[in-house]
């Protein structure tokens, strides 16, 4: 093979040394002065410091959001609200590369993905929902649907800007105001988004951004918000659902998954291999809907695995800012530890582990793409969400067995089906207990397409007409 020379992305975003909390249109430090550092996971170097919101800050932000909702944003016509969102979408497009590089630096994900997926899809979400703002009466949710009020939103570190867009765009389009807590390891693009809100002249208090960790999130959930929207782990989702029990707060949850990616013997094999790779190695496997369980029909298992391994050998792991990097850094030392622990149980329980022979950088948090074969349903690596680039391969004999194994999980977020036979796809899609089914593709997302889970993967949808239900009183 010929080696590609380093192809580093040259744009550098303006990253400040320190960021405050974004409350009522202004950056300010935390009431108690708390500060934390955000680290570049590919170098372990601190990128900037940021204020950490406490209870007093949460109360101030919620009050600002309440005032903005009642006096400005709620009374504003849908047309005008929509124009602000269109403006935000355009600004995101204009500054797309800065956001992409910043996301890559703060999160560790490859620039290829932030540039081609995260940022453009985030802009699409604002553009899409902007158009809803003056058409809510046509959304099939009654002739005069009302906003819920102030929304508390807590988002994860795997797609920081995109999850922000999934949360903020529909909330604002429906006339709500928001207080959003980005994940503690990835606050950068949310803070840049706050600057972008200033640039867009968005009225103060409509969007408030409160960096912080779990305690900040808990304070936000417990604050005087009308609704909580959370994306993250099932454990935290469960805690939130418990804590709002008996209140009037609404709740939508987008939680974990352990998706089955089913490859039938009549699949388009080369595309299925691409789908398997995209399903589990996209974003280092830090994807709630990742195809982490490959269910392959026994009759083609050997062939699929051989091709899969050959393909995984070509994945390029390393510097997230290199345009040719396919797999970047694991987001944090903590997550790396979790992935290591769970993969060790895989070998301990008798599964066979395989990794390509790729070099890893010396500093930073890295994990080689990993394929476990000989995995059984009872093993932890088949049951628990690893949230890393680790694929568990299981086999099945008949279509019924494939569906039974695929559904045999408390989760129900997504699933994949690969077969050239249309009737088999429809048969499988109907039986799979998952909110999203990808047939002959995987990990596709779109602002017009509702996304969300069943069972312990949560409830509520984001995107599409159906996603509006989460932000309207109907």
């Amino acid at each position: 093979m010929f080696e590609y020379a380093p192809a580093p992305e040259s744009v550098r975003p303006p990253i400040r040394e320190h960021y405050g909390l974004f409350i009522d249109g202004q950056f300010r430090d935390a009431a108690d002065g708390a500060v934390f550092k955000s680290v570049n996971p590919s170098t372990e170097e601190a990128l900037f410091t940021v204020a950490e919101a406490g209870e007093a800050d949460v109360a101030a932000a919620v009050a600002a959001a309440r005032r903005a909702q009642e006096t400005v944003w709620g009374p504003m016509s849908g047309t005008e609200r929509g124009k602000y969102l269109f403006r935000i979408a355009r600004l995101l497009q204009e500054r797309a590369r800065e956001f992409a590089v910043a996301e890559s630096m703060d999160n560790g994900k490859p620039i290829k993905e932030t540039r081609d997926f995260d940022v453009p899809t985030a802009a699409q979400h604002f553009f899409y929902h902007a158009g809803w703002a003056d058409k809510l009466a046509y959304a099939g949710l009654g002739s005069d649907p009302k906003p819920l009020g102030v929304i508390g939103q807590v988002i994860p570190w795997n797609f920081p800007l995109l999850m922000l867009a999934w949360k903020i765009a529909p909330a604002l389009a429906c006339g709500n105001t928001v207080v959003l807590k980005p994940a503690e390891t990835t606050p950068l693009t949310a803070l840049m988004f706050a600057e972008l809100c200033q640039e867009a002249d968005l009225p103060p208090g409509v969007v408030n951004i409160l960096p912080g960790a779990g305690a900040t999130g808990a304070a936000l959930v417990d604050s005087a918000v009308d609704k909580v929207a959370f994306t993250g782990s099932t454990a935290v989702g469960r805690a939130i659902a418990k804590s709002i029990a008996g209140t009037k707060k609404r709740l939508t949850l987008e939680l974990g998954g352990k998706a089955a990616n089913i490859v039938f013997d009549d699949a388009p094999i080369d595309q299925a291999v691409e789908g398997i790779v995209n399903g589990i190695f996209f974003n280092q496997g830090h994807v709630c809907c990742a195809g982490s369980r490959l269910l392959v029909q026994e009759s083609v298992a050997a062939e699929v695995l051989e091709r899969l391994k050959a393909r995984v050998e070509t994945l390029r792991v390393g510097d997230p800012l290199d345009k040719n990097t396919d797999i970047g850094a694991i987001n944090s030392a903590e997550q790396l530890g979790r992935i290591r622990d769970l993969t060790e149980t895989g070998t301990g329980e008798g599964a066979e582990v395989w990794q390509p022979a790729c070099d890893l950088p010396e500093r930073g948090f890295w994990f080689r793409p990993t394929v476990f074969t000989g995995v059984q349903q009872s093993m932890r690596i088949a049951k628990e969400e690893i949230f890393g680039p680790v694929l568990s391969v299981l086999t099945f004999r008949t279509p019924d067995e494939a569906i039974a194994k695929a559904n045999n999980t408390p989760y129900g977020l997504s699933a994949g089906v690969w077969t050239e036979k249309g009737s088999k796809i429809l048969w499988a899609a109907e039986r799979l207990r998952a909110g999203v089914v990808w047939a002959n593709t995987f990990n596709q997302f779109d602002a017009a397409s509702p996304f969300g889970g069943l069972k312990e993967s949560g409830y509520g949808r984001e995107g599409g007409r159906q996603g509006l239900e989460a932000y309207l009183d109907v």
Binding site: F2, T314, N324
Partner: protein
């Protein structure tokens, strides 16, 4: 190397090939096309691409003078740039071309078999082939009968390729599928395997004479076919995209595909070719740019 299969067996095997998902294939090609090849890697890729060109002229207006000019360019494209792989001409121009490149590494490839439509009787196509070989062609670029293929007569296509293979003697046989007329990816895959079962040394996308010529997804699919064919039979077959590849950026995308789908074994002009004419000058201008640090222009490469 002859096929041990009968036409019926080959036809039945290719009909049983798994399907191709068009969107997935195109997404994979688009993904490979995002590779950024810079600096030393780019210099290496440019020289490799030059060395893989079948420098082509296939016009009714071709003359011995035009062919000699082309051959001279193939031998010494520019300064220390490598020679191209071959010159590719009509059978009537083979003798001129052979004389012009004699003693060099540059091969003479001749289109034959009633190129580009192939709509002449088989004995005429075989005579066309034999004449080209006699005149000194090292390589024969044949066309398949798309009409026979599309009418479902895969056996006839198979037998015709075998017959042309026999008529080609020692010359390497490139089988042009004319993928723009086969239209679907499923048929491109089937035709690729049919050609390989029949003894093709290369499978080639296009004549360059129809609306749609080489595309990256089609060529990627053909690369997957030769990869799988070698895994199944042990026989290695080359790939030649032709038509429509005009600049360095595009050529490098194809090389990235060879690199990541086929690997080292195909990364030479023994196994991968570009059928092109204007591509060479763009590669040379890019080559000059890497050497001088500034952009070149069309007056700094030769018009041939």
């Amino acid at each position: 190397m002859g096929s041990i299969l009968s036409g019926a067996e080959a036809a039945s095997l290719v009909r049983a090939l798994p399907g191709v998902d068009a969107v997935g294939l195109e997404a994979r090609a688009a993904g490979l096309a995002t590779r950024s090849v810079k600096a030393d890697a780019k210099a290496k890729a440019i020289d490799l691409a030059i060395s893989m060109i079948d420098l082509t002229t296939l016009e009714g207006a071709d003359t011995p003078g035009k062919v000699r000019s082309l051959a001279a360019k193939a031998l010494r494209p520019d300064g220390d740039a490598p020679a191209t792989a071959a010159v590719c001409v009509y059978p009537s121009m083979v003798a001129v071309a052979a004389e012009a490149v004699q003693g060099s590494t540059v091969k003479v490839a001749s289109v034959a078999t009633g190129f580009p439509a192939g709509q002449v009787p088989l004995d005429v196509r075989l005579a066309d082939t034999e004449a080209a070989v006699r005149a000194g062609a090292d390589e024969i670029d044949m066309v398949i009968s798309r009409g026979a293929y599309l009418s479902g007569d895969l056996e006839r296509v198979f037998h015709e390729i075998r017959a042309v293979k026999a008529a080609s003697g020692e010359a390497r046989l490139k089988v042009i599928l004319e993928t723009g007329e086969l239209v679907t990816y499923d048929d491109v895959r089937r035709a690729s395997w049919l050609a390989m079962y029949a003894g093709a040394d290369f499978i080639k996308t296009s004549t360059g004479k129809v609306g749609v010529n080489a595309t990256l997804p089609v060529t990627l699919l053909m690369m997957q076919a030769v990869r799988d064919y070698r895994a199944a039979t042990g026989v290695q077959v080359g790939v030649k995209p032709a038509g429509g590849i005009r600049n360095t950026k595009d050529a490098i995308k194809y090389l990235v595909c060879v690199n990541e789908v086929l690997g080292d074994d195909w990364l030479s002009n023994e196994w991968f070719r570009f059928g092109a004419s204007s591509l060479l000058n763009d590669l040379l201008m890019q080559r000059q740019k890497l050497k001088t640090g500034h952009y070149s222009g069309p007056d700094y490469v030769t018009v041939d």
